[in-house]
Amino acid sequence: MKDLMPFDHRPDSVLGEALRRALDPDDGDAGTSAFVARVLARVADARPPSWDHVLARWARAGVAAAILVALAAGYLTGRAGVAAPAVRPTMTDVLLSPPAHPREVEIVLASVIDNQ
């Protein structure tokens, strides 16, 4: 082992070897091979699915969305029909309600008076 120097740029082979033994897993070459195999297996698991799988997934999602939209539209349409019953105004309502177009009424009245 080298003396400790503040600017020792060389690796310490004795310390390095001792640390390597301390940090190396005990499983040897078989452990390394198993490690590599596990990584590659995870890569295979994480591989993106093929185009037909993607299309099938999209199709399933699309069908589900279309069903939801159809159900929602049907519900809203039905609700609108039920919620807005046609109410016929009575004669009193018509006579008492303010005219929709006051100017037109005035013109009609003026023409009637002129004719008389």
């Binding site: 690796p11 640390l19 033994r21 301390a22 897993p25 005990d26 590659l40 994480a46």
Partner: protein, 194 residues
Amino acid sequence: MPDPQPPQQAARIAEQDEADLVARAAAGDRAAFGTLVQRYAGVARRVARAVLGNPEDSDDAAQDAMLSALVKLEQYDRRRPFGPWLLRIVANAATDRRRRRTVRRAEPLDPGFVAGGPRPDTTAERRALAERLREALAELPERRRMAVVLFDVEGYSHGEIAEILGIPEGTVRSEVFHARRRLRALLADWREDE
């Protein structure tokens, strides 16, 4: 355990060879990626273990890092060495895992080890020394641990370690210096006890 291709040797491999492997791996060649994983498995597992201590956690972190590296391969600047780039991902993965996991405190030092207790044979002696070194490493700040392992075990330069750890080169020198002081003292005690 000797690596199939230790990082010191890996560093000497023609850059073209490694760049070619990386390019093929990025293009989806799993065999090329497998070669890279094989080449860096040893150093990745050791660096992760320097951070995490526990071998199982370390392997999980190293695996996560390898997968993360594959995903990020497109971002890798192929003009630069691959090893430091990969080890930065490994170091980050190990650090992240350490932060997430429930802190498992290292067992306290066996007084027999500290006092240089009886060692029946060489194998037991080596195991005991390895245990003491792991415990001494665990007492060091994380960055110091990684710095000394990358320098004295893996043979990376201060500049490369600075790149891996994302710190200035001068800080790397300081970290290696302080780590060595602690670990060498431990080794010296051990030898005197023999």
